[in-house]
């Protein structure tokens, strides 16, 4: 127990927690929306995120951004990388829906089976990334794409200079431009999605399907379309989260999605699965709690703290902090 340490560094632990929390929240949104509509844990969502991290790096390779890129060019490259990551992650999410979910749902498979299918898809996606070298070699393309596929099982780093600069101080802790970019863009995107679900026609469809799939299909809601859009939104956000994550963490690998996915799902459950605002709250609470816990007990206990918080919250609020309510979101 290092209480004094936590008290001394409270602000920095808190802000660090918020940064990670907003990443969790962005990914959690994908879990929560799919859960809200299908009542399924989209286990492979973590791989959607992982593909986004690679897309970010590759996009930067593609435009030749490197450690010497600064200023507006840096901002531009990052924005470009994020768009590419969102497209790739969104595409993977759509593919996932098409291959691993739709055929099952058509047959009315039990939920546990859909989970198994998702687990299978998760293995497939992460292995494809982990085997990209051998796969390209089999196609005879490994020389051409060497930079992209070399040592496929190892860590891949951001080619950019990610050193943050302190912008202003809160209670003695310097807040960096990186912190601001991550938290602000995460919250902004979540607000956009929230508004989208509340205000647009397709958003209404999402809420209707979440409430009662049968009735809403009788009322003319195209549930296949709704499910697709749900996966797409989740994928886009995971892609955005991936770029922000790469900005913060700097490295990724073929199995990097797993732990973040588990945390994000935990965040979704913490906030009340199916509840968009719950995902944001859950993500932030989880990020801050585990950062403070890590400060208090030592960083090797970070994960334990995260799960302990989850268990405690569920014991006292069995449906999460804000309850389950994608369907009940007011218009």
């Amino acid at each position: 127990m290092q209480l004094q340490y936590v008290l001394d560094n409270f602000m920095s632990l808190f802000i660090g927690g918020l940064v990670f929390g907003s990443l969790y929240a962005l990914v959690a949104l994908g879990y929560t929306m799919v859960y809200g509509v299908l009542q399924l844990i989209n286990f492979a969502h973590s791989e959607v995120f992982m593909f986004g991290t690679f897309a970010t790096v590759w996009a930067l390779y593609l435009i030749g951004a490197d450690a010497t890129t600064t200023g507006l060019a840096l901002v531009g490259s990052l924005a470009f990388a994020m768009v590419i990551a969102m497209i790739i992650s969104g595409g993977v999410a759509l593919l996932l829906e098409r291959v691993a979910y739709r055929p099952l749902l058509k047959r009315g498979a039990p939920r546990l089976v859909a989970l198994i299918s998702a687990i299978g898809a998760s293995f497939v996606l992460s292995e494809i990334m982990g085997l990209r070298g051998p796969i390209m070699a089999a196609l005879g393309l490994d020389d051409e794409f060497d930079r992209y596929v070399a040592s496929s099982r190892e860590n891949v780093g951001m080619p950019l200079d990610r050193t943050p600069t302190v912008q202003f101080e809160i209670l003695g802790h310097g807040v960096t431009n990186r912190d601001i970019i991550i938290v602000v863009s995460a919250v902004l995107m979540m607000v956009l999605v929230d508004q989208f679900v509340r205000r647009t026609r397709i958003g209404r469809g999402i809420r209707a399907v979440a409430q009662d799939p049968e009735t809403s299909s009788l009322m003319g809601v195209n549930s296949t379309r709704v499910i697709q859009v749900t996966f797409l939104i989740g994928g886009l956000l995971a892609g955005a989260a991936a770029t922000l994550y790469m900005l913060q963490v700097g490295i990724t690998r073929y199995n990097a999605g797993f732990l973040l996915g588990v945390k994000a799902f935990t965040a979704a459950v913490l906030g009340g699965i199916g509840n968009l605002r719950g995902a944001l709250l859950g993500g932030l609470v989880l990020g801050v709690a585990e950062n403070l816990g890590a400060g208090l007990f030592g960083s090797e206990w970070r994960e334990v703290v995260a799960f302990a918080v989850l268990v405690l919250v569920l014991l006292f609020r069995p449906t999460g902090l804000l309850g389950e309510s994608l369907g009940k979101a007011r218009a």
Partner: protein
């Protein structure tokens, strides 16, 4: 009046054939199957035995997975509780043996086994007590958290061996009785290989065969126990709880107690599996007990056919054996496994061997027929209502106005 003749599906599968056999025939067949399983490592059949690896070692892994799948099936298949942290029980079983026989005490393996079982069961109850009130997918994530907490504690607590783990774990007691030769197929015909023998019953370092026999014995014992418990009030209570918890409660089923029982019994079996693993391996470390393993266990149950003990056995074989058999494609095997899961879920959603409740039910039917023939005068007002002219599954008309 005669009983309604129900259109029966005319598909004589293996199972029906089994059923049509007299009881002694069934028992004989099962005993033969069990003997064959015991003999497998000695027979060392050419195609089945994976090239380049120790067949007994693979069989041992399969048997441990089978044990785990049977235990997890109680929780997932019967009681319908999605447990993503089952590896936690496996780890607790293994670590109890490790701590009691090596790290902090010098018990024998045999003495530590009951301790491992009791401690694992207790941890099942301790986990279940607060969390079983949480429903469905929340339970899944809470159990997942439990599995991770167990693993991280193993890494972080020096007292539990920390990241390097525990070595020098005691082995099961040896009783050297006689030697059994393995067959050698390298020339294409089976030859008795007198240089390669297994001693019954010596638990050594090199020969895994006796460990496999021990694990297989536990598999058979658990299968028998599972069958009895499943066909009793307990099994029915689990199924009823899984189908409709509220209705079950209102029919007098103490659902919480039965869910807790399922958890405890599942943990019980997981503890045995862990103890076996520790005893065979001799050393354990936290990296063995990852979340991925929990997911493999769940896959074994679902792939095989949750709720059917033969099905989950098959699932365990698929999950544990196939990757070993195709070790040649080492780097591709997880990919292939993932594809297999998706394909299987899509085309065989009930699992390879789904529970056929009608098997048991058919026995009941025969019983009823016997009753009917003995009751010559089936008089009374009851039966007629069963054949009402319009009782053909028509949905209720707009009558349901009076919601009280």
């Amino acid at each position: 009046m005669s009983s309604q003749v129900r259109p029966r599906r005319r598909r004589i599968g293996l199972r029906e054939r089994m059923r049509m056999m007299p009881r002694w025939g069934q028992i004989l067949l099962l005993v033969a199957l069990a003997l064959f399983c015991y003999a497998l490592p000695l027979l060392n059949p050419p195609f089945i035995s994976p090239p380049g690896t120790d067949f007994s070692g693979v069989l041992f892994t399969v048997a441990v997975y089978a044990l785990i799948a049977l235990g997890l099936n109680i929780v997932v298949g019967y009681a319908g509780l999605l447990d993503l942290g089952y590896v936690g029980f496996y780890a607790i079983g293994a670590y109890t043996v490790g701590i009691l026989t090596s790290e902090h005490a010098t018990w024998t393996w045999l003495a530590s086994l009951p301790a491992a079982i009791v401690i694992t069961m207790l941890s099942g109850v301790l986990l279940g007590w607060p969390t079983l009130r949480v429903r469905g997918d929340y339970l899944a994530i809470v159990t997942l958290g439990f599995g991770e907490i167990v693993r991280l504690n193993l890494i972080n607590q020096e007292w539990l061996g920390g990241a390097p783990g525990i070595s020098g774990i005691a082995r099961p007691p040896s009783i050297p009785l006689f030697e059994l030769p393995h067959l050698d197929w390298s020339t294409g015909v089976p030859l008795v290989d007198l240089d390669n023998t297994s001693t019954f019953l010596v638990f050594g370092v090199l020969d895994i065969t006796p460990y496999y026999w021990l694990a297989l014995t536990f598999v058979i014992l658990i299968m028998l126990a599972d069958r009895r418990v499943k066909n009793s009030r307990v099994g029915r209570a689990w199924e009823a709880t899984r189908e409709d918890e509220d209705a079950a409660e209102l029919m007098g089923v103490p659902t919480f107690r039965f869910k807790l029982l399922a958890f405890a019994l599942g943990a019980f079996v997981g503890g045995i599996a862990g103890a076996l693993f520790a005893g065979r391996q001799g050393f354990i470390n936290p990296e063995t007990f990852t979340l991925l393993l929990s997911i493999l266990f769940i896959s074994a149950v679902v792939v095989g056919g949750q709720g059917n003990r033969w099905g989950v056995l098959l699932g365990a074989i698929v999950v544990a054996y196939l990757p070993e058999r195709f070790r040649g494609f080492e780097q591709w095997r997880v990919l292939v496994f993932g594809i297999a899961l998706v394909v299987l879920a899509t085309y065989r959603p009930q699992g390879l061997l789904p529970p056929r409740r009608t098997v048991r039910a058919q026995k009941m039917e025969e019983e009823i027929e016997a009753l009917e023939t003995s009751d010559v005068a089936v008089a009374g007002e009851g039966p007629d209502t069963g054949d009402g002219p319009d009782a053909d599954g028509a949905p209720p008309e707009e009558k349901g106005a009076g919601r009280g």
